[in-house]
Assembly symmetry: C2
Homo-oligomer: 342 residues x 2
């Protein structure tokens, strides 16, 4: 990383199917300079998330797509390098959404949170459990899923950043929790380390049969990250008045052709199921409430998480693909520059 050049990943072409080498290009832009009241931040961590693939496409979506030629969008943590704003000083640690680049110049409203330099919480935690990821799990499960003690909760992408938190909160709430993940190692992690009651490796097991075995009383809550055949299996086994918190449909983000909805869609009617799509930003005003409780659970040892940190901004475009083949282990992020708390 040079101090006179700002490297930026820009969207060059929209993906057709899987993200490939031609979709994003790394360019060198001049160092931006802060204007009046602005701050210059240096990126420390860049979050990589399944929704990156949605933003790269021009499908109808919950935010405007990233335009061709624009810097790729992404959640970030960084350090203030230079400030003309009285509220921020060089060395402050801040969280924002300035995307896939070494540096950015931002107004204070774009700095979403200030992070402590001194406490023992690693910065990476704010990319996962103590950030939008944790809030996604918290509000999706508790507000939409409304799990009651003794109910059965199913989580897909259960070893993922969101899913692993969902399952642990469901255990705190006294539920039976069954996770679906993509490797035996991930299944072991969520059962042995996180306390899920059962795990299903969807790559080696018949998900419907396995769910039937692990959910003898049916399914009351589904936290859905995947869609496709997994959602169909869940819908086959839902109980009356089940709730489905629809958080993601990663199985179809890379599809070029129209993807059919679940074949068991009719069970939404027959079983009086509630399906609710949500985006965590819908809950933005209530983030403090979630972060406070997540922080308490973390401090009490009731929540665990793991991070998958890839070094170097230049590796971001390659690393994001790990989310789609499932080879990441934990919340995926890029370390763009040195972490002063590490």
């Amino acid at each position: 990383m040079s101090d006179t050049v700002n490297r930026q990943w820009r969207l060059k072409t929209r993906p057709s199917g899987d993200i490939d080498d031609d979709n994003l290009e790394l360019v060198e832009a001049p160092m931006p300079e802060p204007g009046d009241g602005e701050v210059l931040v240096r990126t420390i961590y860049l979050s990589l998330d399944p929704t990156n693939r949605i933003w790269m496409s021009d499908m109808d979506q919950y935010m405007p797509p990233v335009e061709i030629g624009d810097v790729m969008r992404g959640g970030t943590i960084g350090e203030v390098v230079q400030s003309t704003n009285p509220d921020f000083a060089a060395g402050d640690l801040v969280q924002g959404f300035w995307g896939w680049q070494d540096y950015a110049v931002l107004g204070p409203q774009a700095l979403r949170a200030r992070l402590s330099k001194d406490d023992s919480t690693p910065l990476t935690a704010y990319m996962g459990l103590l950030g939008a990821i944790g809030c996604t799990a918290y509000f999706g499960l508790l507000d939409i899923g409304q799990p009651k003690p003794g109910e059965t909760v199913v989580v897909s992408a259960a070893a993922g950043a969101v899913g692993s938190v969902v399952g642990q909160i469901a255990k705190i709430k006294g539920c039976r929790v069954v996770g679906i993940a993509g490797s035996d190692e991930k299944c072991r992690w969520i059962t042995d380390d996180l306390g899920f009651d059962a795990a299903i490796n969807y790559k080696t097991e018949n998900v419907l049969e396995a769910l039937r075995r692990h959910c003898p009383d049916g399914i009351d809550v589904d936290f859905e990250n995947v869609g496709g055949e997994i959602l169909d299996a869940v819908l086959t086994l839902v109980n009356q008045n089940a709730r489905i918190a629809l958080c993601g449909l990663i199985s179809q983000y890379n599809a070029n052709d129209p993807v059919p909805g679940p074949y068991m869609f009719r069970n939404i009617l027959m079983k009086r199921v509630t399906v609710k799509g949500f985006i965590v930003t819908d809950f933005l005003p209530r983030f403090p409430e979630a972060l406070a409780e997540l922080g308490q659970w973390l401090a009490a040892g009731k929540l665990d998480y793991r991070v998958d940190v890839v070094d170097g901004l230049e590796n971001a475009a390659g690393a994001v693909r790990k989310l789609f083949d499932g080879s990441n282990q934990g919340k995926l992020m890029v370390r763009v520059s040195a972490d002063p708390k590490a």
Copy 2:
């Protein structure tokens, strides 16, 4: 109809695809006799509804399926012929669920409502607007759909018994209402007589294009009776935080092969849509509230309805098929014996 024989339609075989002549058989059973505390009722009206097709199948459903050999299930209105129960006397008009037969013997708990012999409300109204049909429209639209003044409400099967009431309530609530129906005559009825803002004939128009034209501000509420391509068109145009009250999926009840869910399922996520399946019996304790308000609107001339009455129990099995080719005009029912209020 003989006074010594009780004709009954019994389920003989489960339908494969459309209901055919071999699925139901008309048999003659002996007249039942009331035991202690029971009443003998003579059927006056038998309700025919799309859900009959669900009950005839053994698919996973919201009530147990009708068993082979059992009398076909259905809503009924009748007159008490003989009673050993002090609460009921010969001549009382009662509503219940005793199915496709001339007579039935029932305990008092099976008589769901007593209907006035003297007021001006026709008995047929209780089969539609002032019964489960009206409550279905009322709770599905108001509780699940939560329409706000100025919002756009779409109703499929809009000239049907439920749909026509949904649209009129949505107009009372100040919404823009677009109905989808299966003939130009039905479209004229819902716009000219019922006050819908627009109607789409799905048999002659491209539903997606027509919805786009008639819903310039998108769709906020969908009262879904049909599913399939119609639901897909709706999902293409839903606004953020739209609500879909899933009441029926008549387009697929006759399907033998697995039916894909909506191809635009992903918009449930992208637009944070709530989809909620419901069965009107979920709201049973609140029926009086709905029936009171529906009655007031009817008396005030704010609601209209029409009935399609087929004469003769022997014609029930033929008549039920009208629901699936759309040839009924209004709430479909069979007049099994003379209506004392007509």
